[in-house]
Structure formats: structure tokens, C-alpha cells
């Protein structure tokens, strides 16, 4: 509508016009800092590997049951640091470094760890003037503290697993008084900003002729028109990690880049700073909406993780001694035996806070996932419906529009579970309200959806319109819950509603109040089938530096600088808490967020932000979600179709096919795009989209079970191949295909006009079955698969059993009591195993009352058996087993069902060409114990 654009343009005229117009093609890089433009990054990065000026003062060593403390001294400036070492349960080591006596406390990130991690005793194996050797318990693991220069090495047997400060890049900018307040200008001292390296630094600076104080940005820094006042001066920290024998590192999302992290030598470091990036560019290390400071290192022997718990702006440099070497070069090294061991070196730099690192020692990928989960929690267990298809658009115009889209799905017999409302639904972007003209009867609308057993999501962003007629604003003001600017007044910035305040979500009282706003009596027009979407929670501030909040804004006594990357997590946390509370703690919440931090997985789903209707954006959705999955966030998806621009029909169809096999499956589109509901592209394309959405719904039992597993163990739902094939080096860089759980391998078609794809099927001696044709293929091969527009190459692993509900209905709730079909894909050894998980799909009763069914399904010795994995669980389902397909079977003479001590024959059919045995209507309840015998 004209009013929208006029209003919007009016509101954003100052900042956003330039933002929007100048970036018609892609991101305006000039709006965002490079390392060189970020003073602390530039200072820290100027420091090159050398001998560390830090020395461990072994005489200060104190060892208690749970921790070891030791002072470090920087020989250049004599500042003392305190090192704390913890051996944590589950094969982890925690390293904390802070100033021994800071001028005032430095920020330590709260609310990320689910509890104080339980420790295990450390013991000193040996000690001399050069250092201390500590035992890390089993497997001959030792932690060696070297004194001069200070470094840490974690060893297993003779192997060094990981070293800290081995390149001497530990740097800790201690808190100091401002020079100009000391009345004795002392140029020399300023230069020791990076404590470790003043000599070298000095020389360089003099050569550059920089007037150090201004250029360094120690006490003030200006980017574009924004000045950061930095009242605390320089506070940055840095530490290096060396990973011998490692060539592949992953994680540290969110970046629009490949799965395997690249070396950053000579380029920009990977940046972690939650930002609202308009039309982001692909394949570069620029910061995006989320920051999860967790890196995984992997080789054929071991997987490890580094969790850098810091919420300030962070940059990560990666270098490798094998980068740039060709395969031939590596081979030559190998043949000549002259090769140095491959090694990856990593360096973390953060603007403030302390060094608090968790080293997760694996050794298996699944160990690292459970180690990280033990620290920050697991993926929340989503309501089953949220694993269905989501239909979103900026914006569904009014109630009639919602109704007609809902009817469109029924007319075209396409299932969906959620329809979404973007910012235009609210009255003047005042969240928690409804536009009185477009949505005058929200409850009527929600009831209409409920009658179809469907649900809705309405957006609630964390920027609050400054408007004295707006209840939410008035309450936040009266409770003094807004973030403050450096002068102590309420911080205000521009966002969708115009001038806006930003609630201080770091305050527990504020979050409790926010949560209470979701109760049915507070959130007018809400009902139990209304859920929430938190957008713009980086936070996005249209007229702020880098489109976010000023770093010198204040959250209580802490600066925004300290907490920036965790702000978005708090928003989602408070929202999810509100949704849980409104049902008295009975119903599971569903909240989508754009900004994430370590721990965000506990609160809901995340999407990869404002992508574009381009083939490369479709491709990048895979590594982006894989990277998030590796660091705990399983419930990930990209806007199907692409947010900006109009997709070609082919791209849209391909995107549906890809999205249907990614965890969070939502179509979304920008206000300026043409309508793209699935039935608007002709009957053929409608049929293609319908088909793949139906495939999604048929597989919902499997998705749901995987989310239960992720919730229990931290295993990612959507995974890179190497997670399940950690010794197969061919899998280490694959990011155009992926696994769902262990049992489905998906290679989406992401090329325009593609006539075929080459999928890598892993696993020597294993087999994979095409889920559409049941054709069997051998593992450990590159398989060329001819494709048509209807193809989505998906394979089931031989050796797995996947339960499906093949009776697809118009929403997941409608399928609740439907029977299951078991797809038993036999391994070459005629074995298969799987699980079946059933609960009510929406409440916490699975947890609070153990109301669920969890069964193990095993095929061995020609018998398929269902046995109870949770004997003390109680849940009654009316679902039953209508069919069993056994892929790779041979023809039996007869089939018997053994249940309740009785044997009854079961009809079957055998399809010879693909060796598929179909058992007709065995009919047992899905929760029962039974065995099917093939004779």
C-alpha cells in the first residue's frame, strides 16, 4: 500500500534511504566495519606471533579440588593476570583469565551456561621451575602449564591436542585511568595499549606517523557519523590456539559462507557481532544477525571444540600451514616425508570482558555435541506443528487475506500448519496490538484457523514505539526498563515504528515483565494458537552505528559493548518464557528469532535472515544451517523462495524441495515482491510444491524423533556428513548435501536448469536406498543422479528404520492419530534399527509426566521387533502400524506377527525388481511390543 511505503520512507528517511537505495544490488559494505575500522581489532591484529611477554608465576599456584589458580605477569607492563583452570566433567577444560586486580569488575557473561559446570579433581603430576604438569584424568591426558613464556598444552600420550598462547598472542588490555585526566601526558605509555607488543607496535606507529591517541581509538572512536565515547578506554582481549594435526575447522556462525572455515590470512577475520545486514553478500566473513562463538576442529582421529564465552564484538583469525597447498603438494610432502604436520592456528579477539574458554576434547563428534550441550543446554523440543510448513509474507494484508490464503491451501490440497503476520499487522508497529482496520477481530481470525487445526505467528520486535498512548511504552517507562544512553537518559533510536526505545532485556525483572505481557489478558486478541516471532533483535537501530545500538549505551552498570551479542538471546528467552507462562507452564512455546548467541537453542527456532531470491542464496542455506547445527542450534531454516526479489518458478520449486528437508520450513517474501503462494505458478508447479510439502509431512514422525534426540543429547538434526563419517576425509568439505539425523541423506538440486547432480554416498560397505524408487546404491561413491524438476535426491541409509505417516492431511494436528508406515532399509548384513517417538505433540507432559512412547525398532535375523526404550513412560496412542516396507529384503514364505503371546499371519507382497517386501496391515498399536517374523 502506498501508505506503507510513504510512512516507511518518512520514518527511515535519514538512515534507511541510503541503506535501501544504495544497496539495491547487494550489501553496502561501507555501512559495516572492517577489522581496520574497528580500533581494537586493528590494534590486536597488528600484533604478530612472537615470544609472549607473559610469564606464569608458579609460586602463586593454588590448587583446590576443583580448580587451579595461578598469576601471570606481563613483563612489559607488570600487570598481573589471574589464570583459573578447571577440569570439567565430560572431558572438558575451562580456562579463565582476568586481571588480578582490575580497576573495576570486567564483564562475565551470565545466563548462557545452564549451570556452573561440574568439575573433576585436578592433580599435579609434576612441577619444576619451568612449569607444572596436571593430570586430566583418564586416557593419559595432561595439561602442561609452561612458565616462561606462559603457555598451555593439552596432551594425550605423546600428542599435543591443543596449545594456548603458543604463538604469544595472549593480550589483555588492562583497565586504566585516562591519560588526560592524569595531567601528565605520556605518549609512550599509550602505545602499550596491547600489553604484549609495545616495541613492535611503537615502531610501526612511528613509521605511519600516526598521532597515536586519536588514531588508536583508545578512548574514543568514530565510525561514519557515530562516535563511541569509550569511557573505559581500551579493554580488548586476545588469545591464540594451535591445533596440531587439524586441517578442518567449522562453526562460529553466523556467516554466509562455506561450512569449512577458511583461513583469514591476508583477508578479513571472521566477525561475530550481531548486525541487521541489508541484502547480505555471500561467501565472506562479514558479521550477520547471530554470533555463536564456538569452533569445532576435526580430523580423522578426533573432534574438539573451543567455546569462547564472550558477548562483545569478536573477531576470529584462522591460519593454516597447509592452506594454499595443492593436493599434489601435500602428496609430495607425504612422499618426501618432509612434510611438517598440518596445523591450524586460531586467534580470538574480543573488545571487552574476560577470557573464558571451554575446551571440549571430544574425541568423537557426538562427544563434542554432548559436551557443548552440557554447558549451554540443548535444542528446545518444539511443538510438532512447528516442524510442519509455515506460510509467511510481509504482509498478509488483513483478515480476509489470511482467510483466503488459508482457503487456498485447502483448495489446492496443500498442508500447512502456521500462517504468519509481519509488522503491518500491528497498529502502527506497536507490537502486542492489532491494526484496527485490517485486523479488527483477531480472535475471530485465530478461531477460524483453530477450526482448521492450524496456528498463527505474529511478530513482536524488541523496539518499542515511543508514544505516550501506547501501554507497553508507558509501562516500560514507568518501570524504568529501557536501555539508557551514555548520559543516563532513555536510549532512543529509529526502527520500524519511528522513534523507539529498547527494553533492557538483560534485566531479569524486565524479562519477567515482558513475559507477563504474553498472558491472554495482557496480549489482547491472542489465543493459544498464536505464537511469536522476534525479529530485529540484534538489536537493529536504523540510525545507529552499523545499524545497531551505540556501544556506550548502558544496561545497568554494563555497557552495550559488553553485552551486545547476547541481547537477542535475552529477547527470545523472555518471549519463550512468556508463552510458556500463559498456559501455566503446560504448553511448549514456539518463538522464532533472528539474532542468536550461544544458548539460543534453548528458546526456539532461528532463520538465516533477509536472504534473496537467487540460486546462490538457496545454496548457502545449506552451510549456514549446518554451521548453526554444529553449535547447538538445530531448528534452523532459510526463507523459502528468498526474501528480497522475485524468484523464478524453477528457483521457487527448487527452494521448496530444499526447504522441505531443512529443519525450519517457512516461505517468506518481502513487501515489494509479487505474491507467491504455492498455487500461483500453474497447476504443474503447484503439484510439484504440493508433492514436496507432502513428503515433509509424511516424514514428520522422523523429524520429531530427531528433535527429541537433539533435545536429549545435543546431536544436531541437520548435519554435515563428517559428523556420521568422521574418518572419511571425502566428507570433510561437503556442504551441498547433508544428513537429516543419521539415516536420510539429502542432495538438493540448487543449480538452475540442472539435469543431474553428483551426490557423495558415504560409508564403505554400506548401502543407500533412493527413497522415491527404492533403488539401492553402494556407499563410498560419487553417484550421478539425473534429475527433472520433480526430483529431490534423498537416500535412506541401509541399516535404518524410519517411521512415516503417509496419510498426509491438511495440518500436522489432523494427522495425530494416523497410522505409521515403517520403512526398514536393510544393511548388506540384513540388519536395520530405528526408533519411534510419540507424545501429545504440544505439551510439556513428556517431561513433567513422562507421557511419551519411545520405542526401539530392530530388524535382525529376519525379525522386526519393537521394544520399549522407556518402560516407566506412559502415553496412549491410537496410532497403529498400517504397513511395513522392507527394502533390500528377500521373499519370505510367510510372515507372522507375534504379539501378546499369539502368532497371526500377515499378508505381504514382494516386489522383485527392487527387492521390496511390503507387509500389509499388520495393525498393531504403535505403542505395543511386537515382533514380525519373516520365514
Amino acid at each position: 500500500m502506498a501508505v506503507i511505503s510513504i510512512e516507511r520512507m518518512g520514518l527511515l528517511s535519514v538512515v534507511c534511504l541510503s541503506l535501501f537505495f544504495s544497496s539495491a544490488i547487494a550489501v553496502d559494505r561501507g555501512n559495516f566495519k572492517t577489522c581496520d575500522q574497528s580500533a581494537f581489532c586493528k590494534r590486536q591484529r597488528a600484533l604478530k606471533p612472537s615470544q609472549s611477554p607473559y610469564r606464569a608465576l608458579l609460586e602463586t599456584l593454588e590448587l583446590s579440588d576443583s580448580r587451579l589458580t595461578l598469576q601471570l605477569i606481563n613483563d612489559n607492563n607488570k600487570v598481573h593476570l589471574l589464570l583459573e583452570l578447571y577440569r570439567l566433567q565430560g572431558n572438558m577444560t575451562r580456562v579463565k583469565i582476568n586481571e588480578l586486580k582490575p580497576l573495576k569488575p570486567r564483564f562475565e557473561v551470565p545466563d548462557v551456561l545452564i549451570a556452573e559446570p561440574p568439575t573433576e579433581p585436578l592433580s599435579v603430576l609434576s612441577k619444576d621451575d619451568n612449569g607444572v604438569v596436571l593430570s586430566l584424568g583418564a586416557e593419559s591426558q595432561r595439561l602442561i602449564v609452561s612458565a616462561r613464556p606462559f603457555r598451555l598444552d593439552i596432551m594425550e600420550g605423546p600428542e599435543v591436542l591443543l596449545s594456548l598462547n603458543s604463538r604469544g598472542l595472549l593480550a589483555f588490555e588492562h583497565l586504566r585511568l585516562r591519560k588526560d585526566t592524569q595531567a601528565q601526558p605520556d605518549g609512550a605509555e599509550v602505545k602499550e595499549s596491547v600489553d604484549g607488543d609495545q616495541q613492535q607496535d611503537e615502531g610501526e606507529k612511528d613509521e605511519d606517523g600516526e598521532s597515536d591517541k586519536e588514531e588508536d581509538g583508545l578512548w574514543e572512536e568514530t565510525f561514519k557519523s557515530h562516535t563511541d565515547t569509550k569511557p573505559n578506554g581500551p579493554t580488548s582481549i586476545s588469545l591464540d590456539f594451535s591445533l596440531p594435526g587439524v586441517e578442518h575447522v567449522y562453526g562460529i556462525p553466523e556467516h554466509a559462507d562455506d561450512l569449512k572455515l577458511k583461513t583469514t590470512d591476508g583477508g578479513e577475520p571472521y566477525r561475530l557481532y550481531n548486525l541487521d545486514v541489508f541484502q547480505y553478500e555471500l561467501y565472506n566473513p562479514m558479521a550477520l544477525y547471530g554470533s555463536i562463538p564456538v569452533m569445532l576442529a576435526h580430523n580423522t582421529q578426533r573432534t574438539m571444540g573451543i567455546f569462547w564465552l564472550n558477548a562483545a564484538e569478536t573477531w576470529v583469525d584462522i591460519s593454516s600451514n597447509t592452506a594454499g597447498k595443492t593436493v599434489f603438494g601435500k602428496m609430495l610432502d607425504f612422499v618426501q616425508g618432509s612434510s611438517e604436520k598440518p596445523q591450524t592456528d586460531v586467534r580470538w579477539i574480543s573488545e571487552s570482558g574476560i577470557i573464558d574458554v571451554f575446551i571440549m576434547l571430544g574425541p568423537k563428534p557426538s562427544d563434542v555435541f554432548s559436551q557443548y550441550a552440557s554447558l549451554t543446554g540443548t535444542q528446545s523440543f518444539p511443538p510438532l506443528a512447528s516442524l510442519g510448513y509455515h506460510q509467511c509474507r510481509w504482509n498478509y494484508n488483513d483478515q480476509d487475506d489470511v482467510k483466503s490464503v488459508d482457503q487456498g491451501f485447502d483448495q489446492h490440497d496443500i498442508p500447512y500448519d502456521f500462517i504468519w503476520l509481519d509488522i503491518e499487522h500491528a497498529d502502527g508497529k506497536r507490537y502486542f496490538t492489532w491494526d484496527p482496520h485490517k485486523f479488527p477481530q483477531p480472535k475471530e481470525m485465530l478461531q477460524g484457523l483453530m477450526d482448521k487445526r492450524r496456528k498463527m505467528v505474529a511478530i513482536v520486535d524488541p523496539h518499542i514505539k515511543v508514544d505516550s498512548d501506547y501501554k507497553i511504552h508507558n509501562e516500560i517507562t514507568s518501570k524504568d526498563f529501557y536501555v539508557k544512553n551514555k548520559d543516563g537518559r532513555n536510549y532512543e533510536g529509529w526502527c520500524w515504528p519511528g522513534n523507539s526505545g529498547y527494553p533492557d532485556f538483560t534485566k531479569p525483572e524486565m524479562r519477567a515483565w515482558w513475559a507477563s505481557m504474553f498472558s491472554y489478558d495482557q496480549y489482547e486478541g491472542s489465543m493459544e494458537n498464536l505464537f511469536t516471532w522476534n525479529d530485529m533483535n540484534e538489536p537493529s537501530v536504523f540510525n545507529g552505528p552499523e545499524v545497531t545500538m551505540h556501544k556506550d549505551a548502558l544496561h545497568g552498570k554494563w555497557e552495550h559493548r559488553d553485552i551486545h551479542n547476547i541481547y537477542g538471546l535475552y529477547v527470545q528467552m523472555a518471549t519463550a518464557e512468556g508463552q510458556t507462562q500463559r498456559s501455566g507452564g503446560v504448553e511448549r512455546p514456539f518463538v522464532l528469532t533472528r539474532a542468536v548467541f550461544a544458548g539460543s537453542q534453548r528458546y526456539g527456532a532461528v532463520w538465516t535472515g533477509d536472504n534473496a531470491a537467487e540460486w546462490d542464496h538457496l545454496k548457502i542455506s545449506i552451510p549456514m544451517c549446518l554451521s548453526l547445527g554444529l553449535v547447538g542450534v538445530s531448528f534452523c531454516g532459510a526463507d523459502v523462495g528468498g526474501f528480497f526479489k522475485n524468484p523464478s518458478t524453477e528457483l521457487l520449486v527448487r527452494w521448496y524441495q530444499t526447504g522441505a528437508y531443512q529443519p525450519f520450513f517457512r516461505a517468506h517474501a518481502h513487501l515489494d515482491t509479487t505474491r507467491r503462494e504455492p498455487w500461483l505458478f500453474g497447476p504443474e508447479n503447484t503439484a510439484l510444491i504440493r508433492e514436496v510439502i507432502r513428503q515433509r509431512y509424511a516424514l514428520l514422525p522422523y523429524w520429531y524423533q530427531l528433535f527429541f534426540q537433539a533435545h536429549k543429547t545435543g546431536m544436531p538434526v541437520m548435519r554435515p556428513l563428517w559428523v556420521d563419517y568422521p574418518k572419511d576425509t571425502a566428507t570433510f568439505t561437503i556442504d551441498d548435501e547433508f544428513l537429516i539425523g543419521s539415516d536420510l541423506l539429502v542432495h538438493p538440486v540448487t543449480e538452475e536448469g540442472s539435469r543431474g547432480v553428483t551426490a557423495y554416498l558415504p560409508g564403505a560397505g554400506e548401502v543407500w536406498y533412493d527413497v522415491h524408487t527404492f533403488q539401492k546404491h553402494n556407499g563410498a561413491q560419487n553417484l550421478y543422479i539425473p534429475v527433472t524438476l520433480s526430483s529431490i535426491p534423498v537416500f535412506q541409509r541401509g541399516g535404518s528404520i524410519i517411521p512415516r505417516k503417509d496419510r498426509v492431511r491438511r495440518s500436522s494436528a489432523c494427522m495425530e492419530n494416523d497410522p505409521y508406515t515403517l520403512y526398514v532399509a536393510l544393511s548388506p548384513k540384513k540388519f536395520a534399527a530405528g526408533e519411534l517417538y510419540i507424545d501429545d505433540g504440544h505439551s510439556f507432559n513428556y517431561d513433567t509426566k513422562r507421557e511419551f512412547i519411545h520405542r526401539s525398532l530392530t530388524f535382525a535375523n529376519n525379525a522386526l521387533t519393537s521394544s520399549n526404550l522407556c518402560p516407566d513412560c506412559n502415553f496412549v496412542t491410537s496410532s497403529w502400524i498400517e504397513k511395513v516396507l522392507i527394502l533390500g529384503a528377500s521373499k519370505p514364505s510367510k510372515v507372522l506377527l507375534k504379539m501378546d503371546g499369539k502368532e497371526t499371519p500377515v499378508d505381504f507382497e514382494f516386489e522383485t525388481s527392487m527387492s521390496v517386501l511390503t507387509l500389509r496391515k499388520p495393525g498393531m498399536n504403535a505403542g505395543a511390543d511386537w515382533t514380525l517374523l519373516l520365514q
Partner: protein, 530 residues
């Protein structure tokens, strides 16, 4: 496992008040009853296989075409027949059987889901009949109105065609008259021109004499001024004090340059000064008098160009709309201007030269001028009528060229406008012209598209109008509007929406699309069941 949903259902249908029982498997329409014979093997309707009859509706899908499970949700591609006695029978996808949602008004789709459905068929049937009744009435009346419209359009068309023919005749006559008067005018203008030229020439000569006089006086004055030492000669040095005379304008007037000006002489007396004066008079500044204002040619005010006020227009989209509107208007304005007498201000004389006015024409000349003016006026008057006539003819021809439907039933919409007020905007549909939107509380109008074409479905393109190329959307396409026409007694815009950004949809009722009634069936719908 679920209970067997046994196949037989009792169907009650009401026809002529007599209840009739028909037995057949659940979900099977009467027309297909014959394929489902109890206790005989059932062959899938696609012929793909034959199964025992107890596998019909046994909640397991045996047939690829889904035909063995008409009454359960077992087959993904099956369909279920609801009889819906009292309303219209319908098929629903099998997946809607027992899904907890009431789809069939007779509740037969939810026989085992626990959903509490009420039989609403009678109600729906009644409502539908009411609606149909009403629609039939509307259609009937609308159709009558349409006949009138067709009549009127026919008449109007004939009238207009007749009018055009008449006007063509008039136009021809006017054209002849214009030519005749043009000759008269040109004949009268020739002597006028000659007389005026004579008069002008005489005056020019007189002016030249006066100018010469003045120049001489100035020269004498200048000589006196320059002759600083009053020796009756102007010397090089005396002239050199006048820096403004510098011929190469480099800021210094050198001696050589002065000598050049003085024709090589060291000094000149009053008589020889004349040649020097010619060289310097254009630049010479009198010492006593203030500088004469240099005669700057003020550019004649051209016909005003529309000035685009860029500063107050940050948003291109509004800009475009206004400009477009202006353009239309302006075009008309210019046209009118052209019709008026040519502006008389454009006289060839350069009026700035002298303040002295030209002396009045002598009576003979004036008489010739008056005569010529009258001839011109006469000519212009007739020519104007001629052009107006031509315009009118063209307008009518344009109207006649529109596609107003097979029977010209849409003719009456031409040059009309219909408005709809929403909470924020007033929408305006001017059929065959344009659609626009104006904010209710101030703000400029936005063009949502100008007439494009009929674009209904192939069998009746007159059900949809398309208006295109409206104001451009910010970062988007040009606005366009689709107008859907439905039968109604009134001609009125009933709703507007913007389903996609900048693509508007308007619902418009008009009698012109009403079809002859008679084929609307008002009887209850269950007859096909019996």
C-alpha cells in the same frame, strides 16, 4: 488398530417428501454404486487389480487409484462423497475423513474422529436457495437493465455516428470558409505590411539622425573631459588614464595600446578625435557621470515552462503521479493557447533601443492596419471553430472506437467515475480511463493504472478490466489494477484490495454483465442422487 469401519451406510435423501434408503459402501457416490457389489471381488476402478470385497473400506489402501477406500483416509489420492441431503453433494479428498474438521454438512466425513459436527445441510441449502433466489432476482433485473443499456448504447451510437457525419459536413464547410478568409486576410495584410515598413523606415532614419547628434555631443564632451590640460588636444597620456579602454583587457593600458587607439598619432584635436572616438566609445566611461548601465539584453520571457519543484519532492512515486497529471492538463492548456490569437507582443522591433516611442501611424497606414486586423480576427474566429469541430469529431470517434462489449452494453460507463471510500483512501474508477487512489485525509492522488484492455477468461473477456502503467512503485513495478465485474443492479465499486504490492484488485458490479436468467437452477440439489 482401529475398528473396521463397516462399509454400509444408510443414506437418506429427501425428494418430494418421500424418504428413500440407499445402501452402498461409505463414501461412494450413487453413480458408482454399481462397482461396489457386496460379497463380490472388487476390481479397482482403474482395473489395476482385484481384491476381496472385505478389503473395500478396510482402512488399508490396496488400489493405486484409491478406489478401494472411498470411505477411509487410507489412500492418499482417494476421494469421499458426501451426499449432503438438503444441500449440494460434494467430493472431498480422503485426507479430510476423520481429521477432526467438519467438511461435509451432513457430518458423514467425521464418523470416527470425535469431532462434534452438526448437520447443517438444510440450513446451507436454505441459505443457498435464498442467495440464489436473490441472485436470480438481481440477475433478472440486471439483465433487463442491461437490455436498456444496450438499447441506449445503440441509440447513442447511432446518434453519435449521425452527429459525426453532420459534423464532418460542417467541418468541410468551415474548412472552405477558413481558406476563403485566409485569402482575404493575406490580401489585407500585404498593403498593411508595406505601409508599416514605410513608417518604420522613416522612423529609423529619424532615430539614426538623433543618435548621430547625440554621439557627437558625447564625443565633444569626452574630448573636453580627456583634454585634461585644456590645450585643445587629447594626448596619449591623457587617454591612458582611462584604463577601461584596454583593448586586450589584461588590466593595463599600455602606451602602445593607446597609440593604437589613436591611430599612431601622439595627440589629436577635435576633428581628428572623431576617428579615435569610434575606437573607444563603446568602452569609454565618463568621468563625471556615473557609469551608464550597460544595455543588457533581458531574455524575453518565454512561454512558461512547468517548473519542477525538486526540493519538496523527495519521493519519486508521488512526483510521477503529479507530473503525469500535470502533463495531461498542460497538454490541454497548450492546445487552447494555440487556438487563441497569436500573441501580439512578438513585434519585430527591438523596443529597448530607445525610450522614445515610435510616432503614431499616419491615418492612411492606420486604416490599412485596421482593415488587416479585422481580416485576421475574422479568419481566426472561423479557424477556431474549425479546430473545435475537428476536436469534437475526434473525441466522438475515439469513443466509438472503444470496445464496449459485444452489445456495447458497457458504453454507459464511458466518461463516468465511481468511488469507494475505505478507512484510509478514496478509490476512484473511471472506466475506460483510469483508476486512482487518494488518501482521505490529505495527500495527492496516485494513479493506479490507465485503461489497458479487457482481460477476462477466454470464454468471456468482458468480466475483467485491466488498468496498467500507473504511478511507479518505489523500488517496484508500476501500479496496476484488475477490475472484476459482477452482475448487479447498481453500478458500484464494492471492494478494493492490494493482494500484491502495487497490484490492486477492484470488485465492480454492473448490470452490463448480467446474463439472461433461466439457466439458474433453484431446485434442491439432491435430485441427482435419486
Amino acid at each position: 488398530m482401529t475398528c473396521l469401519h463397516l462399509l454400509l451406510t444408510l443414506v437418506f435423501a429427501v425428494s418430494l417428501g418421500t424418504p428413500v434408503e440407499i445402501q452402498r459402501p461409505r463414501g461412494v457416490p450413487l453413480t458408482k454404486k454399481q462397482f461396489y457389489e457386496e460379497n463380490k471381488p472388487f476390481t479397482c476402478l482403474d482395473g489395476s487389480r482385484t481384491i476381496p470385497f472385505d478389503r473395500v473400506n478396510d482402512d488399508y489402501c490396496d488400489c493405486k487409484d484409491g478406489s478401494d477406500e472411498p470411505g477411509t483416509a487410507a489412500c492418499p489420492n482417494g476421494s469421499f462423497h458426501c451426499t449432503n441431503a438438503g444441500y449440494r453433494p460434494t467430493f472431498i479428498p480422503s485426507s479430510r475423513i476423520n481429521d477432526g474438521i467438519c467438511d461435509c454438512c451432513d457430518t458423514t466425513d467425521e464418523y470416527n474422529s470425535g469431532a462434534r459436527c452438526e448437520n447443517t445441510c438444510k440450513d446451507l441449502g436454505r441459505k443457498e436457495r435464498e442467495v440464489l433466489q436473490k441472485m436470480a432476482e438481481v440477475t433478472k433485473e440486471g439483465f433487463l437493465l442491461k437490455q436498456q443499456l444496450i438499447e441506449e448504447a445503440k441509440k447513442g451510437r447511432q446518434e453519435k455516428q449521425g452527429k459525426v457525419t453532420d459534423m464532418q459536413e460542417n467541418k468541410k464547410q468551415l474548412e472552405d470558409k477558413v481558406e476563403a478568409l485566409r485569402t482575404v486576410k493575406e490580401t489585407a495584410e500585404q498593403p498593411e505590411k508595406e505601409a508599416k515598413e514605410r513608417h518604420l523606415k522613416a522612423w529609423e532614419e529619424q532615430k539614426a539622425a538623433i543618435r548621430l547628434e547625440k554621439d557627437k555631443a558625447k564625443m565633444a564632451e569626452a574630448f573636453l573631459e580627456l583634454d585634461d590640460n585644456a590645450d585643445g588636444f587629447v594626448s596619449v597620456s591623457e587617454l591612458q588614464s582611462h584604463a577601461e579602454l584596454d583593448p586586450d583587457a589584461d588590466g593595463t593600458l599600455t602606451e602602445t595600446e593607446v597609440q593604437g587607439l589613436m591611430g599612431g598619432a601622439e595627440q589629436v584635436d577635435t576633428s581628428t578625435f572623431e576617428s579615435v572616438w569610434t575606437n573607444i566609445k563603446d568602452k569609454y566611461h565618463s568621468e563625471s557621470q556615473p557609469e551608464e548601465p550597460t544595455p543588457v539584453e533581458t531574455p524575453p520571457d518565454e512561454v512558461k515552462e512547468p517548473v519542477v519543484d525538486n526540493e519538496s519532492e523527495p519521493y519519486p512515486e508521488d512526483d510521477v503521479s503529479e507530473e503525469e497529471d500535470d502533463d495531461d492538463d498542460d497538454e490541454d492548456d497548450y492546445h487552447e493557447d494555440d487556438d487563441k490569437a497569436p500573441p501580439t507582443v512578438k513585434t519585430p522591433e527591438k523596443s529597448h533601443e530607445d525610450e522614445e516611442a515610435m510616432p503614431p501611424y499616419d491615418p492612411d497606414t492606420q486604416a490599412l492596419i485596421d482593415a488587416a486586423q479585422k481580416a485576421r480576427d475574422d479568419f481566426e474566429e472561423v479557424e477556431k471553430s474549425f479546430r473545435e469541430m475537428d476536436d469534437q469529431i475526434r473525441n466522438i470517434e475515439k469513443e466509438l472506437s472503444f470496445d464496449f462489449g459485444p452489445d456495447a452494453e458497457f458504453t454507459y460507463l464511458y466518461s463516468q467515475c465511481y468511488e469507494l471510500s475505505t478507512s484510509e483512501y478514496i478509490y476512484r474508477l473511471c472506466p475506460f480511463n483510469r483508476v486512482s487512489q487518494k488518501p482521505k485525509y490529505g495527500g495527492s492522488e496516485t494513479n493506479l493504472g490507465t485503461w489497458g484492455s479487457w482481460s477476462g477468461p477466454e470464454n468471456n473477456k468482458y468480466l475483467v478490466m485491466k488498468y496498467e502503467h500507473g504511478t511507479g512503485c518505489w523500488q517496484g513495478p508500476n501500479r496496476s489494477t484488475t477490475v472484476k465485474l459482477t452482475c448487479g443492479k447498481e453500478t458500484v465499486v464494492t471492494s478494493t484490495s492490494e493482494p500484491s504490492r502495487c497490484e490492486y484488485l477492484m470488485e465492480f458490479t454492473t448490470p452490463a454483465v448480467c446474463q439472461e436468467t433461466g439457466n439458474i437452477d433453484l431446485s434442491p440439489h439432491n435430485h441427482e442422487e435419486l
